[in-house]
């Protein structure tokens, strides 16, 4: 289980997280929703140790993330970044197999390549993509390569940061289905950040809404539409009028 307890983070005068409390149960898919700039990405980056919170504790399976062996800890995670974050200098298959080519999970090159091609197939990409470079791929293909990289080492916990942003509706639907399949088949614990309500309904078991630096509402996805919280109501229906200011 992933637990954030009273997590605070500021950047200068911008107090982004103001006491975030969140629990993500093992083997479930949690989606964090919220307006742009509300700190959703910062939230998952604090779990990974990419951003250090000023206050609060974050535990994974009861262990404080700041007091664990980083290599062993990070080996449990996979992450799909918003822009893919593929390494330009490496061909696609080496991007996917990055973790399998070095470090504690290193495998022989041939085996790593075979796994990479299998993961690419898993996300709907053909083997001929393996030897291309990221710059030669479309945005949707880059996203799927990022997804293949996130699942390459069969991690226990996967984070998806805006997995469908910038994609056409059909490609977004394909990515959503892929993520749901991965969650179901791999039994991974996942946190997804998105604004896309179609993604939320496809991917989520649980939903948490971040607003004003705190978790405003959290609950099962089935309760989201009937939530009495006016912030959730405004957000999920995309209304311009409501308690969430349109100018932020």
């Amino acid at each position: 289980m992933i637990k954030l307890d009273n997590v605070h983070k500021s950047f200068g005068n911008n107090h982004v997280l103001r006491g975030v409390n969140l629990e993500v149960k093992e083997g479930t898919s949690t989606v964090i929703i919220g307006g742009s700039g509300t700190g959703k990405s910062i939230c998952i980056k604090t779990i990974l140790g990419l951003v250090i919170p000023e206050q609060g504790t974050i535990t994974v399976d009861g262990i404080d993330v700041t007091k664990t062996n980083r290599d062993i800890f990070l080996a449990r995670f996979g992450m799909l970044f918003q822009g893919g974050a593929l390494f330009d200098s490496l061909p696609v298959w080496q991007n996917v197999a990055f973790r399998l080519l070095r470090g504690s999970l290193a495998k022989p090159k041939g085996e790593a390549r075979a796994i990479a091609i299998e993961k690419l197939r898993r996300v709907g990409l053909t083997p001929d993509v393996a030897d291309r470079f990221p710059a030669e791929l479309s945005g949707g293909m880059q996203k799927r390569v990022g997804l293949a990289r996130a699942i390459a080492a069969d991690p226990e916990i996967i984070f998806f940061d805006e997995p469908t942003t910038g994609l056409d509706p059909i490609m977004a639907g394909i990515i959503n289905d892929l993520i749901r399949e991965i969650v179901t088949e791999m039994g991974a614990t996942t946190i997804t950040i998105t604004h896309d309500m179609t993604s939320v309904r496809t991917i989520a078991d649980h939903v948490a809404m971040l607003h004003g630096g705190k978790i405003r509402w959290a609950g099962p996805v089935s309760d989201m539409d009937t939530a009495s919280d006016p912030y959730v109501d405004q957000f999920i229906h995309g209304r311009a009028k409501g308690p969430i200011a349109s100018v932020r």
Binding site: K45, A75, F81
Partner: protein, 257 residues
């Protein structure tokens, strides 16, 4: 009082910057000795910094050596000392111009490239991705580049020295009427081992500085295209100034030996 406060603030900013760069350099040095190592990255850095810098280093050195020969000849003519061209070209190239010009060319070519590449990686979250893939960015990005520059720039300086001397030789024997065999003999007789050692030592320091500045500014770049631009500009400025300052200090050290 406002004037004193401004001086104090500026001093603090400079000291903080020196502290951050020193800490970055220390962290890089400590990572040099610890596993894992990334031979593939090291190979690419050696190729990019060393081999691919050869043309620009060679062209810079040959033109500088040629111009130096002409300057020494015309300057020396004022007191009937035209004959010292081989000796002054040799000592000027090996002790001073070779290492400094190669260092500055490396700052222009390599430091800017490293800073822009790493800054772009930071902006596009590739550095974060490295961390999530259990790869330390300092080890993967900084160590191979700094090590490759520290190893290859002395070699480039050595090659630059030879090409620069050849430039002087070509001009002196081709247009100034010097005897070819005598020119070479004078150059060999005049140069001492300590001149070559000081040249290569400077090269190692300049290579270290050039790559370190590229990595430092890249890793600490701001957001967006403007952040990448600032990192690139700042890295070249810092590398060039530090190379010239280090040259002064190292020259003083060798002078006192």
């Amino acid at each position: 009082m406002k004037f004193l406060a401004a001086i104090g603030r500026t001093t603090l900013i400079i000291l903080a910057a020196i502290g951050r760069v020193s800490l970055f350099a220390w962290t890089t040095l400590t990572h040099l000795l610890r596993t894992p190592f990334y031979p593939r990255e090291m190979g690419f850095a050696l190729l990019n910094i060393g081999w691919l810098s050869l043309p620009v280093v060679g062209l810079t050195a040959i033109f500088t050596g040629g111009a130096l020969a002409l300057q020494i000849y015309s300057g020396g003519a004022r007191f009937n000392a035209e004959a010292v061209v081989p000796q002054i070209v040799a000592i000027g190239m090996v002790r001073e111009l070779g290492p400094v010009l190669v260092g500055l060319m490396i700052a222009a070519r390599v430091t800017s490239s490293i800073a822009a590449e790493i800054a772009t990686m930071k902006v596009t979250e590739q550095i974060d991705a490295l961390v999530t893939l259990s790869t330390h960015p300092m080890k993967y990005l900084t160590v191979p580049r700094v090590l490759a520059a520290t190893v290859t720039v002395p070699l480039l300086v050595g090659i630059g020295d030879i090409i620069g001397i050849f430039g002087g030789y070509a001009v002196a024997t081709g247009t100034l009427g010097f005897n070819k065999a005598a020119y070479v003999q004078n150059t060999i007789d005049f140069l001492q081992l300590r001149d070559v050692v000081s040249s290569l030592t400077k090269g190692a320091f300049f290579g270290f500085i050039a790559a370190l500045m590229g990595c430092y500014f890249g890793m600490n770049s701001g957001r967006g295209a403007q952040g990448v631009g600032r990192a690139t500009k700042g890295s070249v400025e810092a590398a060039a100034v530090l190379i010239l300052a280090a040259n002064f200090v190292l020259t003083g050290v060798f002078f006192s030996l």
